[in-house]
């Protein structure tokens, strides 16, 4: 066993894009290989759970966990890797705030199963419905079961650092890896526990190249209905609901820079309690109407406010889930 510190990555309830974005750091992956001994990375190498259980506690220096906690298996691994890792990083929007998988908190598990297995999205001629355990001659087969709501990593175990982004930007990942390497070489200090790394302290508008003026919103429109979109003017001012003002900076305003409205994947700014509430109040404050009927007409331009304001942050918001998910 080499004396290099151990590195692990795990992929829970997420799309795996964060794992791929780690590869996007290009040759820097060689630095990782040079400085770390990859102990556990299911998508890249064939290590088993019992290999991790065999390690003593704290053996893994750095674990980048991406994905929310949806099944009892995710929960088990979260506790396991927490015990085994010195530094556990909630890597990417799913681990940090639930992200798109977290949107499932708007529906009950029964409905999720129904849609998944009994509607047009799945070819299921004999109408098979999955069960937690099933007897076969060889023995009992079990499958992980779904919790009623998806939880973020920090809502299950103690997390050392958070790296927002869906996925985190490659240049930010590279910067974090450099930082950890410098810490190993004693050349740098780890930031205080619980802080957000690989991102900025302000919001997307800070890095956005577009010109910003005083806002008078007389209508909200879908971006394809604003043709042509003025390339230099703030997207929100053109009536397209851009979440940039409330979304943490760090992505170098990747989407608005190329003419797409920010949808908020870097999550809330520092110290904000509820991301969606910030957008509700920001958009409502700049709607240019006084009569309720006029206001309604303008707000109709956002047909799905819950989706628009909580696309990434639902599981980490104050309410976390809809009554349909948990109330009988």
């Amino acid at each position: 066993m080499s004396d290099k510190p151990k590195f692990a990555m795990y992929w829970a309830a997420s799309c795996g894009g964060c794992e791929i974005s780690v590869l996007n750091i290009g040759e820097k992956i060689l630095d990782v290989d040079a400085n770390f001994d990859i102990a556990f990375w299911p998508v890249a190498m064939d290590a088993k759970y019992h290999d991790v259980e065999a390690l003593e506690d704290g053996a893994i220096l750095l674990t980048l966990w991406n994905g929310g906690i949806r099944t009892d298996e995710n929960e088990h691994l979260a506790h396991l890797l927490r015990r085994k890792s010195k530094i556990l990083v909630a890597f990417g929007s799913c681990a940090t705030e639930g992200c798109v998988p977290g949107l499932a908190n708007l529906s009950p598990v029964s409905e999720i199963f129904d849609v998944a297995f009994h509607t047009v999205s799945t070819d299921n001629p004999n109408n098979i419905h999955p069960v937690a355990s099933f007897e076969v001659p060889e023995g009992t087969l079990t499958l992980p079961t779904l919790r009623p709501v998806l939880k973020t990593l920090a809502q299950v175990v103690d997390v050392d650092y958070y790296m927002p982004g869906c996925p985190p930007e490659p240049h930010q990942i590279a910067a974090v890896i450099d930082l950890v390497i410098q810490v190993l070489q004693g050349k740098a200090q780890l930031p205080p526990k619980g802080s957000y790394i690989g991102c900025g302290a302000s919001t997307v508008c800070d890095e956005c190249p577009r010109e910003r003026n005083v806002k008078h919103i007389t209508a909200f429109k879908r971006i394809q209905d604003v043709a042509p979109l003025d390339p230099n003017l703030c997207i929100l001012e053109q009536g397209v609901p851009c979440n940039g003002p409330a979304t943490r900076s760090g992505c170098n305003s990747r989407c608005p820079r190329v003419g797409a409205q920010c949808i908020g994947c870097y999550g809330p700014a520092e110290g904000v309690l509820d991301y969606g509430a910030r957008l509700i109040t920001a958009f409502a404050s700049v709607v240019d109407a006084k009569e309720p009927a006029e206001i309604d007409a303008i707000l109709d331009g956002i047909p799905d406010p819950t989706g628009q304001f909580y696309r990434f942050n639902l599981a980490d918001s104050l309410l976390r889930a809809s009554t349909k998910a948990w109330k009988r």
């Binding site: 708007l106 309720p292 309410l319």
Partner: protein, 152 residues
């Protein structure tokens, strides 16, 4: 549980008109339902939707927001912003399955103690009919599994 469900309602008033309306109801000894607990802000424009969500997540069954009549705002026009935020907030809460009737906006001038008392009584009745909201206390559960029963 007592046979009659007594909702807990958090109320946010502005300091100028609606808080004084509550005071006026007091000095006039007008009796109204005790379910509303008022928090005084400087203006209805100070109301942040986060306050409403925090109250609902913290166990409130309804939230009452009061302010001055449009045109009477001590800060000229800030109650219009409160109105717009209230309207967008109710639409968003619908997505969370929270009935829009659990959040209410009432304009009351400093002289309308009686009106505010009636609005409170009506609102308490409405929320009583909707029944308890019972938002889960997510943060202080000891073990998530125990609280949320596993379902297939």
């Amino acid at each position: 549980m007592s046979e009659k469900f007594e909702p807990v309602i958090v109320g946010f008033t502005c300091n100028w008109c609606s808080y004084r309306a509550a005071d006026a109801a007091g000095t006039a000894r007008i009796k109204y339902e005790p379910n509303v607990r008022l928090i005084r802000l400087m203006c209805s424009g100070r109301l942040d939707p986060t306050f409403v969500m925090k109250a609902l997540a913290g166990g409130a069954d309804g939230v009452l927001i009061t302010g001055c009549h449009p045109g009477d705002c001590h800060y000229i026009e800030q109650n219009y912003k409160a109105l717009r935020r209230f309207m967008l907030l109710r639409r968003t809460l619908k997505g969370f399955g929270v009935e829009p009737e659990r959040i209410k906006l009432v304009w009351a001038s400093a002289a309308e103690g009686m009106k505010l008392a009636h609005e409170i009584d009506a609102f308490v009745d409405e929320v009583r009919k909707l029944g308890p909201l019972n938002w889960p206390k997510w943060e202080n559960e000891s073990n998530p599994a125990e609280v949320l029963e596993v379902t297939a």
